[in-house]
């Protein structure tokens, strides 16, 4: 089949890619748009390393054919913050040592940002549930959960 043009709004900018409809959103982000912050872990929707927001909902970009992302708004880890101004979630992960090898980190950050948007004051149980689709093989999760709790406070301070 011939490639087609697909339009997506990525981190605020309208982007057009020419590719096959079954190309994974993950690959479109990484290879067509050179947004390599989003990682590939398992490639089958189990690990959450490829988490992005699609129309505000958390999704695994490895399980989204780009044809289904046509016309949607995508937010990746690159859209959370920048070097001058990190997102509260990014600052919290830095402060608390919520990253080790870093492979799961972009997905953790996006999933945390999504969780806090839906529930600004999550308790530990809600945090565990919000991140239960994001696997980390280094940290044992304790520091990640601490980072999320810290992000809750930082986000609160920012709002105030």
């Amino acid at each position: 089949m011939n490639p087609q043009r697909y339009r997506l709004r990525v981190n605020g900018d309208v982007r057009t890619v020419e590719t096959h409809g079954m190309a994974r959103l993950l690959d479109v982000l990484r290879f067509d748009l050179r947004l390599t912050g989003t990682k590939e872990g398992c490639g089958e929707g189990e690990c959450g390393a490829c988490s992005v927001l699609m129309n505000g909902d958390l999704v695994n970009s490895c399980l989204v054919p780009v044809a289904q992302a046509e016309g949607t708004t995508i937010e990746t880890v690159e859209g959370l913050g920048n070097d001058e101004r990190l997102h509260a979630v990014q600052r919290a992960f830095l402060e608390c040592g919520g990253a080790q090898c870093g492979m799961c980190t972009p997905g953790m950050l996006v999933a945390t940002a999504h969780l806090l948007k839906k529930n600004p004051q999550p308790d530990l149980e809600a945090i565990r549930e919000g991140l239960n689709g994001n696997l980390c093989r280094c940290t044992g999760y304790t520091r990640i959960f601490e980072a999320v709790e810290r992000a809750v406070s930082l986000a609160g301070e920012e709002r105030a």
Binding site: G48, A67, Q68
Partner: protein, 461 residues
């Protein structure tokens, strides 16, 4: 070996008639794809046989939820997130809400659809047992006709369903007539989150004069398709659940299921666990009593003033207690919890304040002047995680409490259950920066959470 996207075609007609026409004109040529959580896994593994796919994810016709007086109809394209966030599902079909929360991770729940789960027909899928227990009905649609079918007739064998070529699951309808039923849902898997079930069970039933009535059980991962346990149901219907009936139910179950060895479990384990879960359901049903919540049943029979007095310690506002008591009888614990929230948000700041004053200071072991004895006991339990001898933390907490009281004119209130003193101190400091209106709303929200926890304790949930 990963598939190459160039070998596949995916089209998006964008309307239901457009999709149905395509399926009708080229029968067997197109694989419908909705949330893609299964299709993309197969695709990436190089195991997706179909080369042409038709996109259902952008069809509004499939995504509606119709909440009628007697039925709830969920569009086949509803995602599990939509289902678990739908208040009517929570109220009338909690086993389905539970199953939706079991289905994969949040990211998968945001994409995977109810119809996809059924049409994919995995024997281990999470939503079928609940839909079987609730005896759901499907509406199937093709370019030629629309037909209805009881869901219990849908699965014909391993990955084999009653769907005809060119047909889609348009919607799933559930009858709202399970108020007062005893409900049981349990899943066993390798981990709590996003595990594919080794065995999953949903059961409903009632007791009448100690006899089991209207028992229906759905079970997954123990046969080539999700199963209604008709044999077990027949073995217990109208009977007192004693050891003899349990034994008969076990025999019926053994004859009905045909578990296999696979990557997740072995047949023998599945057979044991299926038996244990079904027996657990029957025994808890038997123990549930004719009135399923004894505390609620007794409370419903109290005169309004006494009923209000009994629930007052859960909240602390006299008006809240009076207005909730005016809603007697409340038929289920769930209804009590929802009504409590409604009344709380209706009564407003003056009555909220009375509730706030019924709590002790965080870190203070003395009860509040306005507290009932029960309220004081609960306060102690709630603050138990914060019990600390650390004089430094206690002093900081006392100072911050004083600052808070000076600023807002009332004590600092937080839902303390499970929180350490240090955590509460941190929250207190954050909240000191709120403006008054925000802080009032926040305090009311904390009181609401405390009330919910206390109501649950009271009801024995």
């Amino acid at each position: 070996m990963r598939s190459h996207p160039a070998e596949y075609e995916i089209v998006s007609p964008g309307t239901l008639p457009g999709v149905l026409r395509l399926l009708d004109e080229q029968p067997g040529q197109w694989l419908p794809v909705a949330g893609a959580t299964e299709v993309m896994v197969m695709f990436s593994a190089g195991k997706l046989g179909a080369r042409r796919l038709v996109n259902l994810s952008n069809l509004p016709e499939l995504q509606s939820i119709r909440d009628n007086a007697k039925t709830l109809t969920l569009g086949g394209g509803c995602t599990f997130s939509q289902i678990r966030n739908c208040s009517a599902v929570h109220k009338h079909f909690p086993l389905l809400a539970q199953a939706a929360s079991w289905t994969g991770s949040i990211a998968n729940q945001n994409r995977a659809t109810l119809a996809g789960n059924l049409a994919n027909a995995s024997p281990a899928a999470d939503s079928p047992p609940a839909l079987l227990a609730y005896d759901a009905e499907l509406e199937l649609v093709s370019a030629r006709e629309t037909r209805r079918m009881p869901y219990r007739e849908f699965h014909l064998g391993y990955k084999k369903t009653a769907l005809r070529p060119g047909e889609l699951i348009l919607s799933v309808t559930l009858k709202k007539h399970y108020d007062g039923y005893f409900l049981y849902g349990r899943k066993t898997g390798a981990r709590n989150a996003q595990a594919i079930s080794k065995v999953c069970v949903a059961g409903i039933g009632r007791l009448h004069d100690g006899r089991a009535m209207n028992v229906r059980i759905g079970i997954g991962a123990v046969a080539s398709a999700p199963l209604r346990l008709f044999g077990v149901e027949q073995a217990v219907e109208g009977k007192r659940i004693d050891d003899q009936v349990i034994a008969a139910a076990r025999r019926a179950l053994d004859a009905e299921i045909a578990p296999i060895d696979d990557i997740r479990s072995i047949a023998e384990y599945r057979r044991w666990v299926a038996g244990n879960l079904v027996v657990e359901f029957l025994r808890t049903l038997a123990a549930s009593g004719d009135t399923f919540n004894p505390v609620l049943a007794r409370w419903n029979a109290l005169p309004p003033t006494e009923a209000a007095e009994e629930i007052l310690p859960c909240c602390g506002s006299t008006r809240w207690a009076r207005e909730l008591a005016a809603l007697q009888p409340l038929s289920t614990p769930e209804e009590v919890l929802q009504a409590a929230d409604r009344v709380w948000s209706d009564i407003g700041p003056e009555d909220w304040d009375e509730a706030f004053r019924s709590h002790p200071r965080i870190g203070d072991r003395r009860p509040a002047a306005h507290a009932t004895a029960q309220s004081a006991t609960w306060s102690q339990q709630e603050q138990s995680a914060a019990a600390t001898q650390d004089a430094h933390t206690l002093a900081e907490l006392a100072a911050a409490n004083a600052e808070y009281e000076h600023r807002f004119g009332r004590i600092f209130l937080v839902c303390a259950t499970g929180k350490t003193a240090a955590k509460m101190l941190e929250i207190l400091r954050t909240r000191l920066s709120n403006d008054e209106a925000t802080e009032l709303r926040e305090t009311a929200e904390q009181e609401r959470q405390i009330t919910q926890l206390r109501l649950r304790k009271w009801l024995g949930l």
